[in-house]
């Protein structure tokens, strides 16, 4: 009888070995068996079938970043509200009050961003 902990390590090791062998096998088989076609179009970046026009690293208006950051913030707010809504009945009144505090703090940020002109597009 092998020590159970060592047994577990051996089992895990076998699993990792098989996994690695399978990955390597798939890549080498497809490399050996696949048909080759050489076409200059193949090395071009794929952009939904449209021919690429310019470099992807073009400068963007910094405004996009502000809007994106705000989107992430308010999106996460929704992520927090879902589990809160599900367990609100068991948590009771304190949780309700806490959510109002949470939204009030976010609202401060919203008013701040609004007055700073983040939502204005010229």
């Amino acid at each position: 009888m092998v020590n159970p902990a060592i047994d577990l390590v051996i089992q895990l090791g076998i699993m990792f070995a098989i996994g690695a062998a399978m990955a390597m096998a798939f890549i080498s088989i497809s490399h050996l068996l696949s048909p080759r076609s050489t076409n200059p179009n193949k090395s071009e970046p794929y952009e939904c079938g449209v021919v690429p026009k310019s470099d992807a690293r073009a400068p963007f208006n910094v405004h996009y970043y502000l809007v994106a950051v705000l989107f992430v913030l308010f999106d996460l707010e929704a992520v927090f509200i879902y589990p809160w809504a599900v367990s609100l009945r068991t948590l009771g009144t304190p949780a309700l009050a806490e959510m109002f505090v949470f939204i009030a703090i976010l609202l401060v940020g919203y008013v701040y961003a609004w007055k700073k002109g983040v939502f204005e597009w010229e």
């Binding site: 068991t90 009144t93 304190p94 949780a95 401060v108 008013v111 701040y112 007055k115």
Partner: protein
């Protein structure tokens, strides 16, 4: 779910509300020239800090816990809350003139400082690793933004990016340690972890967890070899913010180390004690030796703050070595003394920069002739530098005396000898600035803007008075430290 007891966090709630009000008021301030008069936000921020200070003082002697024991209110937490409120108040007082001179006086500055103070308060009050981490992040994220406050300047950007990268790396390491602690103990509260780990402190898993948490907090106190970011961050950040970084987050991290390690890892005291002793020797050496060769005073003060972290770490290491909280008393006295003398030294640099926004570059040779140009500034800076050296009669001496006597008490007299010898080395680079100020002729005449703003004067005066008072009458500070430790460990 119970209603949480909010009394322990009243100071933080006051600061949070003040920060929100600052953010709401700031966009509505507009004058004809479009730059806005910031008196209102400064008043709100200072009122918030004063409120937090008064409420904290009123809460002395309480012993409560809240949020399922995640944070407590005792004399330990109150000591640090008071210290942070005073420190942040001094920083805010010295800032307006400096920011005005750089034409970048925005109200957000004050909101960010207040939020960082909330994080620091919670770090000191936390009795749970999760809350410790969240509070540390609140403090750190505010600090990253503050470091980049002059965002049009390359150096300020560099400072913020370096702080952000190293800081988030350190946070990740610490979080990994916390997850190991949870895996081993099945709990995150300090006391619960200590109970669960109990005697098996010496096992490899526990040592790894302790090591990772210690490294994460070691980054925050800029202990060598995790100090690389400190000089660049302090040099690039606005000077009042460098002052804030050098005292606030560092003190908060020391508070967290002292509160967490003895309680949570009692079985591994010897091991983490030795770890901090090794760190302290490396930190004292690196800080003092690099400071010797600096020609930029701001950068020299950054290295000197590393050296001071080293002196403080000797006390922390002695706590672990002796398995007793007694050497921590000296660390806490030192933290209070260090807050005032370092804020004063950085504050004077901020003052000089405000006087000469275009010509002053913090270099040593520009300090020449300061004794004649503005004698008061030179005298005050000399006082702060002498205190940083540890000359008797100043706060720095009291701090070093208590830390090193605690180290000797733990039978680590050789460590205290190293510390004292390196303090003697530090006299060279501190006194050199004084010699430049009083005994060297300036190479060129500078265009100086006067007068000094009232807030700056008040900030420097409070720092100077506190430095002298702690130096001459340290017993009240010792008493409050002793009651803080009684609250923590009984």
């Amino acid at each position: 779910m119970q209603w949480p007891d909010l009394v322990p966090v009243i100071p933080e709630l006051i600061l949070l509300v003040a920060a929100c009000v600052v953010l709401l008021v700031e966009p509505f301030l507009k004058t004809e020239d479009g730059r806005g008069d910031k008196t209102a936000v400064i008043a709100i921020a200072l009122t918030g800090l004063l409120g937090a200070l008064v409420v904290s003082l009123a809460l002395v002697g309480q012993d409560r816990e809240s949020f399922a024991g995640m944070l407590v209110l005792d004399d330990w937490a109150v000591f640090f809350k008071v210290l942070f409120a005073i420190g942040a108040g001094l920083v805010i007082l010295m800032s307006p003139g400096y920011l005005e001179a750089h034409r970048r006086h925005l109200g957000e500055f004050y909101a960010l400082v207040l939020l960082a103070v909330v994080g620091m308060d919670l770090m000191a009050a936390a009795r749970d690793f999760i809350l410790l981490y969240v509070a540390l992040e609140l403090m750190a994220i505010s600090s990253y933004v503050l470091a980049a406050f002059f965002r049009y300047r390359v150096r300020s950007n560099e400072s913020s990016l370096k702080y952000f990268l190293t800081g988030s790396f350190a946070s990740a390491i610490m979080l990994y340690g916390i997850s190991l602690v949870y895996g081993l103990a099945g709990a995150t509260g300090y006391a619960a972890v200590g109970q669960a780990l109990g005697g098996r402190g010496g096992s490899a898993g526990v040592l790894l967890a302790v090591f990772l948490v210690a490294v994460g907090l070691g980054f925050k106190v800029s202990a060598a070899p995790f100090h690389m970011w400190t000089p660049d961050v302090y040099q690039g950040a606005p000077t009042p913010i460098a002052a804030f970084f050098s005292v606030g987050p560092k003190t908060a991290a020391f508070a967290a180390i002292m509160a967490a390690f003895i309680v949570a890892f009692p079985g591994a005291v010897q091991e983490w004690g030795v770890f901090f002793i090794v760190l302290s020797i490396a930190t004292m050496l690196v800080g003092n030796l690099y400071a010797l060769v600096q020609t930029n005073v701001k950068r020299m003060l950054a290295y000197s703050s590393i050296a001071h972290a080293g002196y403080l770490l000797t006390g922390v290491g002695a706590m672990g070595w002796a398995g007793n909280s007694y050497p921590g008393h000296g660390v806490m006295v030192y933290l209070a003394a260090y807050t005032f003398m370092n804020l004063g030294a950085f504050g004077l640099l901020a003052y000089l920069k405000t006087q000469m926004p275009h010509s002053f570059d913090y270099s040593l040779k520009q300090m020449a002739g300061l004794g004649r140009r503005s004698p008061w500034a030179a005298v005050l800076l000399s006082l702060f530098l002498l205190s940083l050296t540890g000359i008797p009669g100043t706060a720095g001496f009291i701090g070093k005396f208590y830390v090193f006597s605690g180290v000797v008490w733990a039978d680590l007299w050789w460590l205290a000898v190293i510390g004292v010898l390196l303090s003697v080395v530090s006299a060279y680079y501190y006194l050199r600035v004084i010699i430049y100020m009083f005994f060297r002729e300036p190479e060129e005449e500078y265009e100086v803007r006067e007068p000094i703003s009232g807030g700056m004067a008040a900030s420097l005066a409070v720092s100077a008075i506190a430095t002298v008072v702690i130096g001459i009458l340290p017993s009240w500070l010792w008493d409050s430290v002793a009651s803080a430790f009684n609250a923590l460990f009984d």
